[in-house]
């Protein structure tokens, strides 16, 4: 059994990021899918902390687009995990965009212009960081995609366009794009859901689901991590799937294989 505070827990092993300090994963898109019964927000918090807690990467940046909660919410949670988001924000390592209080124009054209503006700010931030000495990776996070779609008048196409551009930025500047989406929001959609488009786009898909046996006090759910592998000059690495259970505690999360918990 491993907690999220240990150097390499099951989740980090499944993600396969090479850097021991929580970096790596450049040029990739990571999709977190959760449900009402099993929130995947803890994965987002874990990754924020991992990306900011590397002393060897002073110029790496986390660009965070929040449609779900105010800054204080994340600050409180990360403080319990030993990470001060306020300080990181002042140091320009945590760039927070409050998408909740933006004035969203009516119509798809107005929404596209707004997205273009937001994308421009992200690209400018990433370009600035990449020009600094010692730059390794940046991270773009979106919490969450379903609320982003609501804010854009239900246009899933605009959301996918935005993700496409973020992904192209990731491949150019060696960034990691992390997005959170809710699987059950699309469960009653008749036409092919935009979630499927994102699954095609993503290099890593993490699904947080309840146990097949239902609710339990000691086990809060299961994680399935699908890592599609990467293709480089020397060839392509094999796709891998890992499945393990988790339990969310006050300041950390425990990950363990079924039946291994004492």
């Amino acid at each position: 059994m491993m907690s999220s505070n240990s150097a390499n827990n099951l989740l980090d092993e499944a993600l396969g990021f090479n850097d021991e300090c929580g970096g790596g994963g450049g040029g990739l898109l990571l999709l977190i899918e959760d449900r009402v019964e099993t929130s995947g927000a803890f994965i987002l918090h874990h990754l924020i902390k991992r990306r900011l807690s590397s002393p060897n990467r002073p110029n790496d940046v986390v660009v965070f687009l929040s449609f779900a909660h105010p800054f204080s919410h994340y600050d409180r949670i990360l403080r319990k995990m030993g990470c001060n988001l306020g300080v990181q924000k002042e140091n320009k390592r945590f760039v927070y965009y409050d998408m909740l209080n933006l004035n969203y124009p009516d119509g798809e054209k107005g929404a596209e212009d707004l997205l273009l503006s937001v994308y421009g700010k992200i690209q400018k931030t990433v370009e600035l960081c990449s020009s600094r000495e010692g730059y390794k990776n940046s991270t773009i996070m979106i919490d969450d995609i379903s609320l982003m779609e609501v804010a854009l008048c239900g246009s899933s196409n605009l959301v996918l366009d935005f993700l496409h551009y973020c992904y192209s930025l990731a491949t150019q500047f060696d960034c990691l794009v992390i997005i959170l989406n809710h699987e059950d929001v699309y469960s009653t959609v008749d036409v092919p859901s935009p979630l499927l488009q994102m699954e095609y786009l993503a290099n890593i898909v993490i699904k947080a689901e309840p146990l097949a046996t239902g609710l339990a006090t000691d086990v809060h759910g299961q994680l399935t991590v699908l890592n599609k592998g990467i293709c480089q000059g020397s060839g392509c690495s094999k796709s891998k799937i890992r499945n393990f259970h988790f339990r969310v505690k006050e300041n950390c999360v425990e990950y363990f294989y079924p039946g291994s918990r004492t």
Partner: protein
Amino acid sequence: MAAEAISRALRDGALEGEHAPALTIKDSIHAPLGAFVFDHILAQLSSNISSSKSQAQLRIVDCYTDPLGWKIQLAESGIVSNRSTQNATTASLCKNVRDLDMLFSSIVELGKEVIRETKGRFAVAIDSVSEILRHASISSAASLLSNLRSHDQVACLFWLFHSDLHEMKASSALEYISSMVACVEPISNTANGKGMNSENVPLIEQNLGRGKFSVRFKRRNGRIRLMSEELHTEQMGINFVPAFEGHVTSQSLVPKVQFNLQLSEKERNDRAKVVLPFEHQGDGKPIQIYDGRRSVSESKTENKETNAEKMHVNEDSGRGEIIYIRDSDDEMPDSDEDPDDDLISDSTIFFLTVGILELLTN
């Protein structure tokens, strides 16, 4: 092999007076190996071009870097640098993927530039049509592909398509335009929709590395030719191997239980030797079993013996006896055996016999 047949068809290009061969590569999220097939076909065609076996020259239109012109707009307004678009491929950059007429013109113009000296033809590869369908209607996309296919200077074209991202009519429209449809399907049937657990993880993982590869060729005379094989992903690409359908079928249909439901060869032989109840008459005489497929003479002999037995029975009418006549052999379930096979065999032999007589007379 199916993959080789596809490469040959694309390499040979368009015949005089015919549209260019067009290939749809179709996959789904449960067998997401279409991109590997696309890359393989692209590599094969490039190799053929390099060795001058193909009439085509190959270029790619870049609709990935800036499909909606956002980066150009931001660069022109000074918000970001021009680096993003400068790093684009040397191919033609498409800045508005929604305008398929302009896209068609770009493709044709670029193709004409390339073949200006050689007066040959050019090939078109699209990765992927699913992305085009996000920005344009199916009729526009179908029109683009159809216009490309009928263009005089297009030798061949192929595209990647994720079938589960679109409605059935989109998939059907693209298949109608294609002369070849290559479909990648999962090698293992997982319990889709039943939730994840540690039992179906190995099956899902298997589907990420292996798949069933089925190809439908549409010939000019309207006939359809089907070929299928398996594909395996490897470190340096993919490999195609003949399909072992029985093996695959048995893997997918036999339920996973803790006891063995199948018979080994020895077990089948032993079962064939088992004497069934009521066939053993227990009177010391050899066991006589009626077999409806035996020859008439044998059956006559049997009838005589059976009559003799019946006479013997009548004589020994004081004892009870069970006469069991089995009406057919034990047939394996779902047998594909055609009961008229023996008739076909006879006609084949007849044909051969005629052939031998002709040889003799000559």
